[in-house]
């Protein structure tokens, strides 16, 4: 079977700097894959390249949504990538602070809704039904993620861990088949991290999702991931199961430094 996300020879140049250098990453359906690497290795750039925030300099980004043919994502705008079924969260929380929690999730439903200006002003029954459905769908998602007690709270007033979860809820609302999580556990306490771990596994098992995450919390990465990709200085240096990656000398060198150089 085709991998649902297949990135081939992805290269991203910022002027003279090669932020990503011929990176190949494939994510299989139903997999939790992790992308790890030291700070500045190019992980977030990788996310930005596949979601269309930066146009990649070279390389190919292909997706194969379940039950659909393989398609190319290069050159698509961010909102079209989301429409294709890739949803992401951000490393530094980017919620819509002027809206309530429910409305934040409803924004995610935006690309699955149709009504336009005339619909909004005249409110025909089709628009009303669509709106009602969006409200109910969004509330259901909040219930699943465990944020339903905050439903009418302003997003900016949520506790930190809940804000992180709201980002995931918002991404889920776009009905993705692949969820891209950029450091979902950053800044969380051990209890929140444990709940997040459970949530991600639950999402994979119950929502028919595949997940690619960037994370620095190694305990979380090792316990969650089926497959780990390691990048350093924009180059992919290793790939494999948690066990394989842990014992890979290249990886140890990237994280801890080269012993021979230190001596």
């Amino acid at each position: 079977m085709e991998p649902i996300l297949n990135v081939k020879n992805l290269t991203m140049n910022f002027g003279g700097l090669k932020a990503l250098d011929t990176v190949n990453i494939a994510v299989e359906k139903g997999q939790i894959a992790a992308l790890i690497g030291p700070n500045g290795a190019g992980k977030t750039t990788f996310f930005n390249c596949i979601t269309g925030i930066y146009p990649p300099s070279e390389g190919l980004v292909e997706i194969t949504p379940p039950g659909k043919p393989t398609q190319k994502l290069n050159g698509l705008k961010t909102n079209h990538v989301t429409e294709k079924g890739l949803a992401r969260t951000f490393q530094n929380i980017r919620l819509f602070e002027g809206m309530t929690v429910l409305e934040n999730v409803m924004i995610g439903r935006h690309c699955r809704m149709k009504s336009g200006i005339i619909g909004a002003m005249l409110r025909p029954s089709s628009q009303k039904n669509e709106e009602k459905k969006a409200i109910n769908d969004s509330y259901e998602i909040l219930e699943k993620i465990g944020l339903d007690q905050y439903v009418n709270e302003m997003a900016a007033n949520l506790p930190y861990g809940a804000q992180r979860r709201l980002e995931i809820a918002r991404a889920l609302a776009t009905s993705p088949f692949l969820l891209l999580l950029d450091e979902p556990a950053a800044g969380m306490n051990p209890q929140e991290t444990k709940e997040l771990d459970e949530l991600i596994v639950w999402l994979r098992d119950n929502e028919d999702l595949s997940i690619l995450l960037i994370e620095h919390d190694m305990k979380l990465v090792m316990s969650l991931s089926d497959n780990i990709h390691v990048v350093d200085y924009g180059k992919k240096i290793a790939e494999g199961t948690p066990e394989e990656v842990k014992s890979n000398p290249e990886v140890i060198k990237a994280y801890l430094g080269d012993e021979s150089e230190d001596a």
């Binding site: 992401r88 951000f90 429910l102 009504s115 909004a120 002003m121 302003m154």
Partner: protein, 400 residues
């Protein structure tokens, strides 16, 4: 409690005011007798007033800080709380309706005329609120669309004899078109850059009107614009004002109705998302281009409608009515009223337009008081007179 530090600070502020206002408050040159008079008693008053004003200012600032610490989120403006209360809502709205219906019959024509201007600004404010308040696009050339509306009616009437009622939809359409035309080139811009470009656009429209004599008589303007007719019947001057008053009331209600619906719709939410975070907004599948263009286009539509009413009311227009100053005033209405808050913008327009008129009693200090009030609102209520409140959705949990 007033601390020693504050007293000391206020003392110096009083002293500073004495120095600052010395040339205008103390020195008076009598040009006839060729002498200079020093009014030393004024200096004393300035000092004393400055001292106490500073104390009061500090007191309120401190109270605001303390309030911020104690209650966090639940400070819903009182107007919203009253409107949410069903028992209060109906009588309140009834009283309001009664007041506005009786207004032109109770007060003399002059007051009705002022109220019409204020209500036109309510329309303009609500329109600009879409662009600035909801979509977060700082537009300093909004008056251009106002001019488009006014000139559309004036010209169509001059050349083709088109009536007010037909001119309304045509102007609205033209406004939408111009909004889109301006929207396209500025799609990539935001914040200060956008402000400068829209400022330029507003000036371009005004300068074109001023210099293109064949189009609209240049600075001499267009006169004899007829007031709206009532099924072919033309009112006398006095009745005409009352008639326009009710037309504006109707248009304002229409605006409130539509804007309110837009605000809590798919499009309205997309605008707010665009304002709060452009990148996240796109990552959630919202088309940035479409969202920006609809905001510009719809905002412009209401400006054009306002323009038609303005032309019909004054019966004479020239480019001087559409200077940058108008744009600034409308922006003030939105910001002081409360960005993104329809009720706030309505309150802002009424206060900002009616106040200078009624302050004519203290004619000399009119603009001084007006300016001071603006500063006070922005310092103590930076989110505006009545800040925006998002819609609350209710859910009944069905336990099975």
């Amino acid at each position: 409690m007033v601390t020693i530090r504050e007293i000391k600070q206020s003392f110096f502020i009083g002293l500073w005011f004495m120095v600052l206002t010395f040339p205008i408050m103390v020195i008076r040159v009598d040009t006839i007798k060729h002498i200079v008079i020093f009014r030393w008693s004024n200096l004393m008053w300035v000092g004393i007033l400055g001292f106490f004003a500073s104390l009061v200012w500090n007191y309120f600032l401190r109270r605001k800080e303390e309030k911020k610490k104690t209650d966090t989120a639940d400070d819903i403006p009182i107007v919203h709380r009253l409107l949410q209360n069903q028992k209060f809502k109906t009588p309140f709205l009834m009283a309001l309706a009664l007041f506005f219906i009786a207004y032109p019959f109770i007060f003399p024509m002059y007051h009705t005329s002022i109220m019409i201007s204020a209500l036109v600004y309510v329309m303009l404010g609500l329109g600009l609120n879409i662009v600035v308040g909801l979509a977060g696009l700082l537009d300093l050339g909004y008056v251009a669309f106002y001019a488009v509306g006014a000139y559309t009616y004036a010209l169509l009437n001059l050349h083709f004899g088109i009536s007010f009622w037909l001119a309304l939809p045509i102007s609205a359409l033209l406004g939408t078109m111009f909004g889109t035309i301006l929207g396209y080139p500025v799609l990539r811009l935001k914040g200060d850059y956008l402000a400068i470009v829209t400022l330029g656009f507003g000036e371009i429209i005004r300068i074109i009107l001023e210099n293109w004599d064949e189009l609209g008589n240049g600075p001499r303007g267009i006169g004899n614009i007829p007031a709206p007719s009532f099924f072919g019947h033309q009112f006398g001057q006095h009745d005409s004002v009352i008639y326009i008053y009710f037309i504006v009331i109707f248009l304002v209600l229409l605006t409130i109705f539509f804007v309110n619906r837009l605000e809590n719709s798919r499009i309205g939410r997309a605008w707010i998302a665009l304002r709060d975070d452009e990148i996240a907004c796109q990552a959630m599948g919202i088309d940035k281009v479409k969202t920006k263009l609809t905001a510009f286009a719809l905002g412009a539509t209401w400006a054009a409608l306002g323009g038609v009413v303005f032309a019909a009311k004054t019966s004479f227009i020239n480019p001087m009515s559409f200077t940058i100053w108008e744009s600034i005033t409308i922006l003030c209405v939105v910001v002081i009223g409360g960005m993104g808050s329809a009720i706030g913008v309505i309150a802002g327009a009424l206060v900002l337009i009616l106040l200078p008129e009624y302050l004519r009693a203290v004619s000399e200090y009119r603009m001084l008081v007006f300016g001071a009030l603006q500063v006070i609102v922005m310092v103590f209520k930076p989110e505006g007179l009545i800040k925006s409140v998002r819609k609350i959705y209710k859910f009944k949990k069905v336990e099975e």
